[in-house]
Structures are given as C-alpha cells and as structure tokens.
Amino acid sequence: MDLTLKIWRQNGPQEKGEMKTYPISGVEQDMSFLEMLDYLNDQLINEGIEPVVFDHDCREGICGMCSLFINGEAHGPGRKVTTCQLHMREFKSGDTIYIEPFRAKAFPIIKDLMVDRSAFDRIQRAGGYISVNTSGNTIDANAIPVPKENADKAFDAATCIGCGACVATCKNSSAMLFASAKISQFSLLPQGQPEAKERVLNMVHQMDLEGFGNCTNTGACEVECPKGISLENIARMNRDYLFASLSSNK
C-alpha cells in the first residue's frame, strides 16, 4: 500500500506545532496502525529525521496507552477498537491519513502525538477507590450478595481503560463518560456504598478543576469508546450527584 500521512509534529508542550506530510510505501494490510507508524519511524531514522513520538504499551487493547485521532475519529474508523487494534486493511492504497493528537486543554501535548492524560489519574485519586485494606484480609467473593445484573453493569463500567477517546471525541472535551464509568463501577456494588456520596462529589469536582468541558449528550463518546462504555453511566452519575448534593452534609 502507498499512503500519504499527514501527522501533527510539535517539539514540546510550549512549541508551535504543524501538520507535516510523509509519503510512505510498502505498508502491508496486516500491519496494525502502530506497526505502520513504527515502519514510518524506521524510515525517518534512516533519513536522519526525528521519529514521530506516539504513546503505546501493551498493543492488545487493554492498557489504554495508545491514542491518536485518525481521519477525524478517536482510534480511527473502527468501532470498539483501540488504535493498536486498528489494522491497515481498513485503508486503501492511495489514501491520505490524518493523524493528530487527542485534543483537550486538560490533555496538554508532550511531544508530537503524545499527550499528558494524568488529569484522569487525578480524577481517580479524588475518589475512584474503596477504602478497604485488602492485604491479609481477603474476603470471600460471595460474602456479600450482589445481583447479577449489577455485577455485570459494574464490570462493564470497569472495562474503561482510561484512554481518553471520549474526551478527544467530544466536541466539548468532556470527561463525563470516563468519570461516570469510574464512579459507576463502585456505585453499583454494595462495597462502594459507604463512600458513594463523597466519591461522586469529589470526582466530579476534580473533573471540573481539570478544565474538561460539559456534556451535551451528543453520544459521540459512546460511539467512539473502544470499550463500549454506555451513556447509562453518565445518567447514573448525574443522578448520584444530584442526590448526593441534596443529601450530603457538606
């Protein structure tokens, strides 16, 4: 396959960036998108050009490190796949592919296509946990009964890998799908109840402090989410936040 790549290049967080064009040939259909970028970088290194910086780790769709806004969509044209699971057979020879970093004020660019998503870590730290000491204190999984439906929904919410595709896709750069998944995975389970009110109030507060936008319910995040996290979680967060605001002592 012969392709024309248009890639955002930016030397550092404060530098000015621009789209640069790289023609590339010899790309095989079986390559993953990231392998294609590795292949490009090999060529760039041979030509004495600085390789393109991009995030990646497990390359099997579970770590949440890869990102990229490809041809106008987070993680590219595929559905329920991360960029590392996207393959070049989705494209045709002769295609021009635009590759841009995830864009949000809360996700500053580190270099080229790599962005700083530590805002998500700070939202998690604000309440995305339960305060139970588990070391040497293992409790039988069935000690507290959990309805199957809730267990499934909590599990579905917990499959969020925190990649940030929701933020990148949302026209408002809203992090509500992420935050709501991280809140729901606990609020659906009995173990999450003791800290439920504080959790939703604190995590939403941290989300606001990070400078993410608001939710317009366009539903774009759900469509582009590689893990298919449902908008139902955002409704649950809205509901929990409303009740927590009304009934919390603080």
């Binding site: 248009k6 955002w8 789209m19 806004f69 041809n71 106008g72 969509e73 044209p77 635009y98 841009e100 864009r103 949000a104 004020k105 809360a106 896709t169 026209k171 408002n172 750069s173 809203s174 109030l201 939403v204 507060h205 989300m207 606001d208 402090l209 990070e210 400078g211 993410f212 936008g213 608001n214 939710c215 317009t216 319910n217 366009t218 539903g219 774009a220 469509v223 582009e224 908008l231 139902e232 955002i234 409704a235 649950r236 967060m237 809205n238 509901r239 929990d240 936040y241 409303l242 605001s245 009304l246 919390s248 603080k250």
Partner: protein
C-alpha cells in the same frame, strides 16, 4: 474557566441540571402557547373577539402572570447558563482538529445546540417586540368588547410573506433544538432506564417536531387564508 464549586450551583453538572429544568419548563410553555394559537384557526368576528378575550385573560389573570414571570426567568436562565456552558466548552479545547468527522458519531442538532439556541433567542426578541411589547406597551385599538385588538395585529403580521417566512424558518430551528434538547434533558437529570427511556425518547422527539409543526400550521393558515382581509 474551570468551574470549581460543588453541589447544585456552579459545578458542571449543576449547570446542566438548570439547563434541563428550564428547558423542560419552556417546553410546557410552548404547549400552552400553541393551544392558544389554535384559536387563530377560527376566522371572522367571532374568532377575533374570542382571541382578544383570551389575550386579555392571559395578560391579567394572576396565575397566568406568575407563570409568565417564571417563563421570562426560564428564558434568561437558559440563555445565561447556555452561554456560560458554551464558553467553558470552547475553553476546554483551545486548539481544534485539522480533520474532524463529527457526523460519524453524533447528530447534527446535538452538535449545534448553541447555534440553534441563539437563533431561537433572536426569534424570541423579534417575536416579543411584534406582539408582547405591542400588547403591553403599544397603542392597540380596541375591539367591540373593549379588549385590545391583538387579533388584527397578529393576522396582519402573518399576511406579509416575509414575516411568515421568517417565522417558519425560526420555528424550524426551534424544532431541531428541541429534537435533541427535549429528550436529552431527561438523561441530564439522570433519568435513563431500559424500560422508560425508549418511551421518553420517542415521546419527546415526537413532541419536538409536532409542537413546531403546530406553530407552522397556524402561520401557513394565516398567510394563505388572510383572515384580516376577509373581515
């Protein structure tokens, strides 16, 4: 421009609650307004007197007055809150994408709520100048019963093609605004349920098109029949 307060004032979710509540209230206002407009289908002296009687009732009955103040307040709240949300949303992405395929994952109306809202606000200002201002502060003639003749003002306005056309374009914009907003308000308020959400979505989407269709029907009727000329 991050919001920093928690609770029901100032947080990102709170702003959305107020948008949803004020928006839904304004939807109920639209239903009431439309029912009143349907009286314009009755032409002739009989229709004129009944409509002016209705106009008098709507501007003097205390309960209606309270509702009208609530409506003004809702319009202001929905506008101010909407502007603040739009500014925050813009600030959340200072550098945009070179290539963005928004149509791949979201409906046009849902992505253009601020634009459609602005168009609707502009329409409300013109519309209130045309009728509300004239009714309250203008020099309207009186009908045979001694009521202000709002009917003649209304029907003659819609006999002009450009006024009717502007009205229909604006109401179409409102229809798109409602097609997303009316059902999405429930999601914002946390109402999302496998049993009820499909019903809510269908009902609210149907209302979002039927209510504006009713307004347009009255405007088309007045333009075609020209009841002011036939009296």
């Amino acid at each position: 421009m991050a919001t920093t307060s928690k609770g029901l004032f100032g947080s990102s979710l709170a702003r959305k609650y107020w948008m949803a509540v004020s928006g839904l209230f304004l939807c109920t206002f639209l239903v009431g307004h439309l029912l009143g407009n349907f009286q314009l289908f009755v032409s002739g002296e009989e229709g004129k007197l009944a409509f002016n009687e209705y106009g008098h009732f709507m501007t003097t009955f205390p309960v209606v007055k309270v509702l009208s103040y609530l409506t003004y307040f809702s319009v202001v709240l929905h506008t101010v809150d909407g502007i603040m949300l739009a500014l925050q949303n813009r600030a959340a992405r200072p550098v945009g994408y070179v290539k963005e395929k928004q149509s791949a994952n979201a409906s046009w109306a849902s992505r253009k709520m601020a634009l459609l809202g602005t168009l609707t606000l502009f329409f409300i200002i013109v519309h209130m100048k045309s009728f509300w201002y004239e009714m309250h502060f203008g020099a309207l003639g009186l009908d045979a019963n001694g009521n202000k003749d709002l009917w003649t003002l209304t029907v003659t306005a819609f006999e002009q093609w450009w006024y009717a056309a502007f009205y229909i374009v604006a109401i179409t914009g409102l229809a798109f605004h409602l097609s997303h907003g009316a059902q999405s308000a429930f999601q914002t308020l946390g109402i999302n349920h496998p049993k009820y959400t499909p019903i809510i979505q269908k009902t609210m989407t149907a209302l979002a098109w039927l209510i504006p269709a009713g307004f347009v029907a009255v405007a088309v009727f007045l333009y075609v029949v020209q009841p002011g000329q036939n009296l």
